[in-house]
């Protein structure tokens, strides 16, 4: 997770912009300077964004049909669909499909487990517990430390010789290579990703919980609802908007991330995901950036598809509840 944790709910933003954009007169526009000033302000940021983010995003689609390499001054040609054929085609298709599958497993397990735990911890650490603010701040800490420090803390923790996890295993007369164990490494990465992101998701749920009017709970209690019924019929429906934001952030974030994998295990066939492949194909030994662009496009299509399906589902649920 490069800490760009966070996103704004697209719907509310567009609604907001719609409302704001109609019939707003710039009060500073009484002079010519006042009329152009907003654009002068916008220009540098927007230009940087267009040049270094938007144009490259579109360029990826073009480069995916070439055999361009990362080595300067090497001629390149259009190769049509060759990169895509190579990804899905005979030779390496099994390994590539395994990578796609692992990406989906990563995204799915992180999203589901993270959201369940985040909601439960937000409920647990509501303000009615002594020290809740401090507890929440501690759980938020990994978000602040970022991926490199978190990665190192856990690779020290899981060090097979002398790390605390090894000592714990030794108590049960067991031992493990942890991140060095191909069967275990990927699960540990999923765990660390969830551990790292919990604080942010929890805070979003917490903010959602805070705006639920307490009368609702009181009314439910008076009507004889049990704690679970209150959770199911008051908390869950009322928290739906926060759930939508959280789930979308987790889906997009977990399907795009690879920094934590890079720090914990490096590029290994047993822990690689699509994003990791883009980096290692594009900037590893042969630096095949055309092929890496094709993988970027495959990842993009996958993420867009899953996000749209999830968004539709969550919106439907939100209105039903």
């Amino acid at each position: 997770m490069q800490l760009s944790p966070g996103a704004t709910a697209p719907r509310s933003l567009s609604r907001d912009l719609k409302r704001k954009a109609t019939g707003n007169i710039n009060p500073f526009a009484f002079s010519r300077r006042g009329r152009v000033a907003p654009w002068i302000g916008i220009a540098p940021g927007l230009l940087l964004f267009i040049i270094f983010a938007l144009v490259p995003a579109i360029g990826i689609a073009f480069l995916s049909f070439t055999n361009i390499s990362g080595i300067p001054n090497v001629p390149w040609q259009w190769t049509g669909l060759e990169n895509y054929v190579r990804f899905f085609g005979s030779g390496s298709s099994a390994a590539n499909l395994a990578v796609v599958f692992r990406t989906l497993v990563f995204g799915f397990s992180v999203t589901v487990i993270l959201n369940i735990f985040a909601l439960l911890s937000a409920i647990l650490l509501k303000n009615n517990i002594w020290g809740a603010t401090v507890f929440r701040a501690i759980i938020f800490m990994p978000v602040v430390l970022g991926v490199t420090v978190v990665g190192l803390i856990w690779s020290l923790f899981f060090n097979p010789t002398g790390g605390p996890a090894a000592s714990l295993w030794a108590m049960f007369d067991s031992s493990s290579a942890f991140l060095g164990d191909p069967r275990l490494a990927f699960s540990l990465i999923i765990f660390v990703q969830i551990w790292m992101s919990l604080g942010y998701s929890m805070m979003i749920y917490h903010a959602g919980l805070m705006v639920i009017p307490s009368d609702l709970y009181e009314a439910a209690t008076v009507d004889g609802a049990t704690a679970f019924q209150r959770f199911r019929h008051v908390t869950v429906p009322m928290i739906a908007p926060a759930t939508t934001v959280n789930v979308l952030i987790s889906i997009v974030g977990s399907l795009q991330t690879y920094q934590i994998i890079f720090v914990l295990t490096g590029n290994r066939p047993t822990t690689s995901v699509l994003a990791m492949q883009i980096f290692s194909v594009g900037f590893g030994g042969a630096s095949e950036q055309g092929y890496a662009s094709a993988i970027s496009m495959i990842q993009f299509v996958l993420i867009s598809f899953i996000t749209l399906v999830a968004l539709r589902y969550l919106r439907k649920k939100e209105t039903q509840l």
Binding site: Q2, G6, G41, G45, L48, V55, P56, V143, Q256
Partner: protein
Amino acid sequence: MTTVVEPRTERPKKGPVNGAPIKARRYRPSGWRAVNYLLALGLVSLYLFPLLFPCNRALKEPAEFVKNPSGITQGVALHNFLDAWQAGGFGALLLNSVVYAFVCATLGTFLSLLIAFPVARGYVRWSRTIGVLFVLALFLPNVLVTQFQLILQLGLYNSRLGYMLLLTSGLGVGPLLIISYLRSLPKELDEAAAMDGCGYFRFIWTFVVPLCKPVLTTVFILQTIAIWNDIIGATIYLSSPALKTISQGLFAFQGQNGNNQWALLSAATLIVAAPLIIVYLVFQRFFISGAVDGAIK
């Protein structure tokens, strides 16, 4: 400005009303409370332990480490920090990272504000389009390759300028957070200021910036964290040792010392984490609410 003072209704806070004893507002068996505390403590220790464990380890003397790697430290071996600092060459790396993070996060925050203000207010044409553009940016494909080709074509490979341009352009959620925050700012303020002859940029600088302090702090911290931890970008774009960042240094340090010098490695991890922790503690009050409110609204 007039404030309407609501008449206080007479309502005794405590004690019996009309002779009837007040019941506890919500009955909660104390057993459940204990379970809640236990769960909360369990959850927090799941965070506290891994976070404190490098601190413990960084303070151990090498001799003690060999005997008892996991126990609580006996001495306070502060020289580990000095040793790690020198062995990893963290001085120069720290300086680089501070420059990258400070310059790019500051610029990025202000550029975000300059975009967000007119867009939130609808003072420019295509306000909506610009806003939607930044939402879409969160879903765009991985641009690692094309950004690299672009920097290569511009002749900015392995230069501070190229790397910093890329970092600054990664505005991410910055404009979106500020747009949603600006809704709480009354528009009448703009009109009054304009009426009094205040210029556009002066208005932003003297009114909007102070009023948006919480969200600006949040955007600044989010960008600082992202830049501080940008290990991939630094690996791709910076090849000469003089330009490298502190996260890269830490990662390389792990490569060299990961198998034996754990005390040093823990100390190095703390050195890298310290600036972020300080920034977090100083701005914590603003930060969490700013980072989360924008996502909800």
